[in-house]
Symmetry: C2
Subunit: 252 residues, 2 copies
């Protein structure tokens, strides 16, 4: 936890009272005492500092001073065939830590049907894994998440409108005959969307539907990666391609 992340409703007159794992982190890991400053941020808002005003039992009261914008809003969306629940939590935290705008959790032929009845998906509340990622990366911008249990309506009906502002469309596919650099072209100032399939990959029907929506299939090479390796690997490669297109802004 590199950031104490507050929900906007927890702030009253620049004060926040914490009693959960964030208070525990301040006490046990940061070993904070009254008067110390900790790094805070407000979900969807600014970053700043919190001065520890009071500590007793498991309660920590902070006086919060917000000052700076979080990192630039990420220009990448992620389409992800739903993995098993434990993997989904991990991948959502990874994606939030690396920075994506929107995550579309979709069905596909090789997604196990039971994954859609997991508690995480059924409750449609991804706040916890996403906040873990934001706290890690010192960011406050939560990716938007939507769940799409039917593949074809998602790709044919929703995607065209959703991705109207997103010219770079990439489909990770072991049988792709080009690299991500070739498929992406020049990313300079362009939004990109990256689609990552289930274990076992997309079936031909799905690849065709994505292609009809302008997605370029690309391959990572001969190696098949698990989704918790593929997601950070591909987001990092997109990020590097953006840096190389605009080296001045690589810190964003």
């Amino acid at each position: 936890m590199n950031l104490i992340l507050l929900h906007p409703q927890e702030l009253t007159d620049q004060h926040a009272t914490l009693t959960d794992r964030r208070a525990e982190h301040i006490r046990k890991i940061l070993r904070g005492t009254v008067g110390d400053m900790v790094r805070v941020g407000v979900l969807g808002g600014l970053l700043g500092a919190g001065c520890i005003l009071e500590m007793d039992g498991n309660r920590v009261v902070l006086e919060v001073h917000l000052a700076t914008e979080p990192p630039g809003f990420p220009a990448t969306d992620l389409i992800l065939a739903v993995p098993r629940p434990i993997m989904l939590k991990r991948v959502l935290a990874q994606a939030a830590s690396m920075g994506v705008s929107r995550i579309f959790l979709i069905n596909a032929n090789r997604v196990e049907k039971s994954f859609f009845s997991s508690t995480l998906i059924q409750n449609n509340d991804f706040t916890e894994p996403l906040c873990l990622g934001l706290e890690q990366a010192i960011d406050t911008k939560m990716p938007e998440i939507s769940v799409h249990p039917r593949f074809r309506p998602f790709v044919e009906d929703f995607l065209p409108e959703l991705l109207a502002d997103c010219p770079i469309r990439l489909l990770a596919h072991p049988k792709g005959d080009q690299s991500i650099a070739q498929a992406a072209g020049c990313l300079l100032g362009q939004r990109a969307v990256l689609a990552i399939g289930p274990e076992g990959g997309w079936v031909d029907f799905e690849v065709q539907r994505f292609k009809e929506q302008g997605f370029a299939p690309f391959s990572l090479g001969a190696r098949i990666l698990r989704v918790d390796t593929a997601v950070p690997a591909l987001l990092a490669q997109l990020s590097l391609l953006r840096q190389l297109a605009a080296p001045v802004s690589w810190r964003q």
Copy 2:
């Protein structure tokens, strides 16, 4: 498991008898029956096919035909400050799936001392997590692993000899003032080593020692990543830089 990985001593006259999770995978996931072919590989050796000769109870007998070389030997080494045991297992599997030659597990100021007394490190047997990675990626080349509980002798005494053939030396460090592309320069045909620090990063003393050994500090940007995100992200960026230096061979 995209590959049934055999140890060389399991092969007798081109036959192997399996009774463990590999047999279970063939029965339950691949739903194999007698006469079916499954993809096999021999640790440190060739890839090929296994024909199911017999199946009974939890036992599967394969007739093995080896034919092709695994993917090219990876030209990247990894120096990793030891993370907590559960994370170490995950990261070793990730690294093996992405392909590295050698992994040096080292101590650092911000590594918790208890991590070195974990069963995994004490037993000095990393076969299981590494095999998981190789089975995932369809590779047979196990990275060499060594454990170095003392930072300074490792960097000052061992590194110069170990890395004599490794001109590209990269140190992930949030305070680095260049990107990985700038730090790496041209990777064409060159071995690279990547050093990734503990949660909380390297301390200044450690950065200085690495610099004295020719390591170039670089930063991933403003975001701080967990080690199971940073390792695939950075190995993927190195791999992309290699592709861009030699686009023809990107499938390797």
